[in-house]
Subunit: 310 residues, 2 copies
């Protein structure tokens, strides 16, 4: 089988929501990343293998990468199939876009194998089927940054309207306390109605955050990282949240909050030494509470899903 017919890619973790941008903002991280190997075959159908220890379903219609590839193949209208091997390094249920990495990685790889027939926007559409399977909702705030890289704004889902935002150099510190928060549960505890006055605060902050990114204004980014609607409800599910947040800001972080629907917490910093201090204090908090955890100090991945060149 020639080089063209098999590729290995890395699919990045992503932080959705970015505090005040519930369902519309996300960014891709340089770490952690899943590794996937996708082979184009003449045999129709999708065959999935997991080489990690997460015991995820491998039937295509029950696997998020499979669900994304089913949508891909429906539109590709070619008599082809894919063998997919997935090594997950982004733990499922971490709030770091684990399902999005699988779905997005699969369709980006598949698209490269058939000669980039589809646009990035098409790929987001296909991959959202994986998100639907994982959480019950077609959302793109992990998928879009995973495919486009960088910071992405999803102005609208129907019709899909994705805009890449530039931003200043940022360090991202992440802690994943090893407790389970289901995306579907995290959605259900949200109120269906919000106070207009809170919504106004929120959209002021979103406009501020986007402006801060585009103008590379660190102070404005920091001032805008405030969520008066989702965080007050969801943070209750994450022990240690308030302490991590307040201590991170004291340590000089610009701000941060829940990554996606949690339980991971992320903090943005201008300087690497601050990001490293934040990591240490996160470790201290969870050691004290007695919850297992994993931390990362990383930067924004501006490539998105990338071909592995090892």
């Amino acid at each position: 089988m020639n080089e063209q017919k098999k590729i290995r890619i890395k699919a990045p973790a992503t932080v959705a929501n970015l505090v005040c941008g519930f369902d519309i903002l996300g960014l891709a991280l340089n770490e952690p990343e899943d590794i996937m190997e996708v082979t184009l075959t003449d045999t129709p159908g999708i065959r999935i293998r997991h080489t990690d220890g997460y015991d995820l379903p491998v039937e295509p219609e029950k696997n998020v990468a499979g669900a994304a590839l089913i949508a891909f193949l429906e539109e590709a209208r070619q008599n082809i199939g894919f063998d997919v091997s997935i090594t997950k390094c982004i733990k499922p249920g971490s709030g770091l876009g684990s399902s999005a990495a699988s779905s997005a990685g699969a369709v980006v790889a598949a698209n490269q194998l058939i000669g980039n027939h589809f646009s990035n926007e098409d790929l987001v559409r296909f991959a959202m089927n994986g998100e639907k399977l994982a959480s019950g909702v077609k959302h793109a705030d992990n998928i879009a940054p995973c495919i486009y890289g960088g910071i992405t704004l999803i102005r609208s889902i129907f019709p899909l309207d994705i805009i890449s935002l530039s931003g200043p150099p940022l360090f991202v510190t992440v802690v994943h306390p090893q407790i389970e928060v289901r995306t579907s549960d995290a959605r259900q505890i949200l109120r269906k109605e919000v106070q207009l006055k809170d919504a106004i605060k929120q959209w002021g902050n979103i406009a501020g955050l986007v402006t801060g990114f585009l103008k590379q204004d660190y102070s404005l980014i920091g001032r805008s990282l405030e969520d008066v609607i989702i965080e007050p409800v969801r943070s209750i599910l994450i022990p240690g949240f308030a302490e991590v947040k307040s201590k991170s800001k004291e340590a000089g972080a610009l701000g941060g909050g829940i990554s996606g629907s949690g339980p991971s917490i992320f903090m943005l910093s201008k300087e690497q030494n601050v990001a490293l201090s934040v990591e240490r204090l996160m470790q201290d908090v969870y050691k004290k509470i007695g919850v297992d955890f994993k931390t990362y100090v990383t930067t924004i991945n501006y490539e998105g899903v990338r071909r592995q060149t090892d």
Copy 2:
């Protein structure tokens, strides 16, 4: 009395909300503008005179310019006073920031007369007292663009956080149908709670609009000019609104909506000829309905309140 002690300024009309940015976005127009003459005096107190035909109160505590100057003098702590002469060209109750122009114009002029002692942010704080008097609420979405010029984002009112946004060249067509919509009434008909799903749509559009301005992306500006929360309620108060909006878009306008709390309607266009077509169709709509109106075809005023140099 020397030149220093008396100045004439022009205070511009402003469009608050900008469709999806309720209470947080506004822009200043080159037309219409109020004309004000402010004289610094050794006699404490504020004396106001209106040279227009609008029969507005002239007692300082009942006049919006007076209310702003009272706040100004409290912090200036000088034994001074002001004589103010106001010629309003922005009709009160038009939704074009008439009260904001008076309040903002007065404090900008006063500040220049005492040697620019205060920052623009201070001036916004003082002028908001005029808005409180006019509408019962301290809002800054007319005051801020009036003082700063251009397009402004009010990320937060308490504490005040104003950010100037750049934007591409735009033509603004405005129609003021001569019906009365009180700001306080327009506020009261709004629901206190909104659906979370609508709020998400709204903040996607706000983020898109701000990005469109900063990236000078006309298409994105157009796609983002959508309001699913305020306009559906308030537009009921404005006869002809739906027709003006749909025909303006057909004519090539990027989009638009209610200016402030109405009844004026504004439309943004990339080209002047489109802006002029929009003016004609606005005229046709209100002639047909039989409501008196006034129209403007203008551009964004990037100076804000300016010294008159005639």
